[in-house]
């Protein structure tokens, strides 16, 4: 079939979408990159310099923030998929009450992240509902520190709660694409519950799982509202540090360096995941 040549009208029609991305997102990324090297600086005279990068890379705090954000991104993405997968499997087949249950489970999707963080905060705070209940039941003698904990479990917990429905939608779509007779064939050949789970459901839903993990990682890695409310005092997440750097210390160029690190890390993770997806497709 002969390929159709792209006409000026086609380009014009593409402009509304591609043009927007190029102009606003592309422009913003390049501006951030230039600012990290002192060009188009907001607070200083525009001149090329590596000082901002030196300052950020040599300081302990930004690196701690980077590792903290990586940790949050990784744990949140794995945690959400681990929690979402069995639920998606449960919802794979219709059944009485599953429709209503499915609607309820999607509620966090419509709640803004900051509100979600405050909602969960009431639950897992030092004197929150969970600790009070556990104390009343005599299961613990002093409240557990689940919020603003040093490791960031509170953040991971809220990330999972907030993004569960989002991941659930992707994983459910992947599971829905698995044919029933494939599962029946596996069972017919003697596969038990766990064999079907690990040898059929997991590898067949792997594309959806990897996409969910990429998207979850990006969300959790660059998250601002949840870590600012429920995260540890130190280290701050990359987004929170970037905010502090720009607004408190007025170091907009160093904030731009952090911005570039977030963008580059995100791209690297997407690349690594896509390589992993190719590997899984080839090897599993």
């Amino acid at each position: 079939m002969k390929e159709k040549e792209i006409s000026p009208i086609d380009i014009l029609m593409l402009l509304s979408g591609v043009g927007f991305i190029l102009l606003f997102i592309g422009f913003a990324i390049f501006l951030t990159l230039f600012q990290s090297f002192g060009l188009f600086s907001i607070t200083r005279k525009s001149a090329f310099t590596l000082e901002n990068w030196k300052a950020v890379l040599q300081a302990k705090e930004p690196m701690d923030s980077l590792f903290f954000s990586l940790k949050m991104g990784l744990l949140s993405s794995i945690g959400t998929v681990v929690v979402a997968f069995p639920i998606a499997l449960f919802f794979r087949k219709g059944g009485t009450g599953k429709g209503i249950l499915g609607s309820i489970i999607k509620v966090p999707l419509f709640i803004p992240a900051l509100v979600a963080a405050f909602l969960i905060l009431n639950l897992i705070a030092y004197h929150g509902l969970v600790n009070t209940t556990l104390m009343l039941l005599n299961l613990i003698h002093e409240p557990l520190r689940m919020l603003n904990d040093k490791f960031g479990w509170g953040v991971v917990f809220i990330q999972i709660w907030k993004n569960l429905p989002f991941v659930l939608l992707i994983v459910m779509a992947s599971l829905a694409a698995i044919r029933d007779d494939t599962i029946d064939a596996a069972k017919n050949l003697g596969a038990g519950y766990w064999s079907v789970f690990f040898r059929m459901y997991v590898p067949l839903a792997m594309p959806g799982i990897l996409v969910s993990m990429i998207l979850m990682f990006i969300r959790a890695f660059g998250d601002f509202p949840i870590t600012s409310v429920a995260g540890p005092i130190y280290p701050a997440s990359m987004a929170v540090r970037m905010h502090i750097m720009a607004t408190v210390f007025q170091e907009w160029d160093q904030a731009a360096v952090l911005g570039v690190i977030i963008i580059v890390t995100t791209f690297m993770v997407i690349w690594a995941y896509s390589r992993l997806a190719e590997f899984v497709k080839r090897e599993v």
């Binding site: 044919r179 007779d181 494939t182 029946d184 064939a185 596996a186 017919n188 050949l189 003697g190 596969a191 038990g192 064999s195 040898r199 059929m200 590898p203 067949l204 792997m206 497709k281 599993v284």
Partner: protein, 274 residues
């Protein structure tokens, strides 16, 4: 079990598909290798070990599904319309292969099909089922030549099914008054009701012969449609307001509106239970 859709595992190679059942049975690696190689050789799919099901043709997928089903050496094998996704030519080829393989392995096999030719060609015994009930059980010859119900008669092969009243009996020969005239039926050991009772009877279109002097059961009809099919001509005709079908090996060209006379051998009829 061999599924209609093959149900191959799309994420696994042909080798892993076939060896899956053996892995589940915790058969040793060495034995797995031996058995998988053997069935692959038997089904002529060597060299496809590393391919994924999506990279195979329909016939190859069918063979892999078959290999996967037999490699575990089950006591009973269930085929659920395994050839329905293949083209007509391949279907005939694969069904012969299945039959040969089943004979060679000696595995009791239940084969579900809606294709009457397939059922007749592949079976030792056929169970004709209708809405979950068994209509008739028998060998292919009996099912085809002596159907017991109108469902079986119509389902396996083509059939002319009529109802008539028994008006006379002479030993095993019965004269039946049918809507298109009187016919003489030889019972051939079948249970036939007493005289004056209504009976349902059937005969096959290919049993109808061009009438010759002295031949029994003469019927005269007008051709509504004659379809030339190479080896036979399929004739749809009207006999005194009744539709009838005949299949004859006729060299002359028959056209709509021609009046033609047939005879039906007395032993071509089967009396139906319902």
């Amino acid at each position: 079990m061999c599924f209609q859709s093959y149900a191959l595992f799309p994420h696994m190679s042909v080798w892993n598909n076939i060896s899956f059942g053996l892995k589940m049975q915790k058969i040793s690696q060495q034995e797995q290798k031996k058995r998988v190689s053997k069935v692959m050789g038997m089904l002529g799919i060597e060299g496809l070990e590393k391919r994924k099901p999506g990279e195979l043709s329909g016939g190859q997928q069918q063979r892999v599904a078959l290999a996967r089903a037999i490699v575990t050496e089950p006591q009973v094998l269930l085929f659920d319309e395994p050839l329905s996704n293949l083209d007509a030519k391949l279907r005939v080829q694969v069904r012969v292969e299945i039959r040969e393989m089943q004979k060679r392995l000696g595995i009791t096999t239940i084969y579900v099909t809606h294709d009457q030719d397939e059922a007749l060609a592949i079976s030792d015994r056929i169970v004709v089922m209708n809405r979950g009930h068994i209509e008739q059980l028998g060998d292919p010859y009996t099912i085809y030549r002596n159907p017991e119900t109108s469902f079986v008669a119509g389902f396996i092969g083509l059939a002319n099914i009529y109802e008539g009243t028994i008006v006379a009996r002479d030993g095993s020969r019965y004269t039946v008054e049918a809507p298109f005239g009187k016919v003489v039926i030889v019972s051939d050991g079948q249970k036939i009701p007493e005289a004056s009772k209504t009976v349902k009877f059937v005969w096959r279109p290919e049993d109808m012969k061009i009438y010759t002097q002295g031949a029994p059961n003469r019927v005269k009809g007008k051709i509504l449609q004659a379809v030339f099919m190479g080896n036979i001509t399929d004739i749809f005709m009207d006999v005194q307001g009744n539709k009838m079908r005949a299949q004859i090996d006729e060299s002359r060209k028959l056209i709509t509106g021609d009046v033609i006379e047939f005879s039906i051998p007395e032993d071509a009829f089967s009396i139906l239970r319902r």
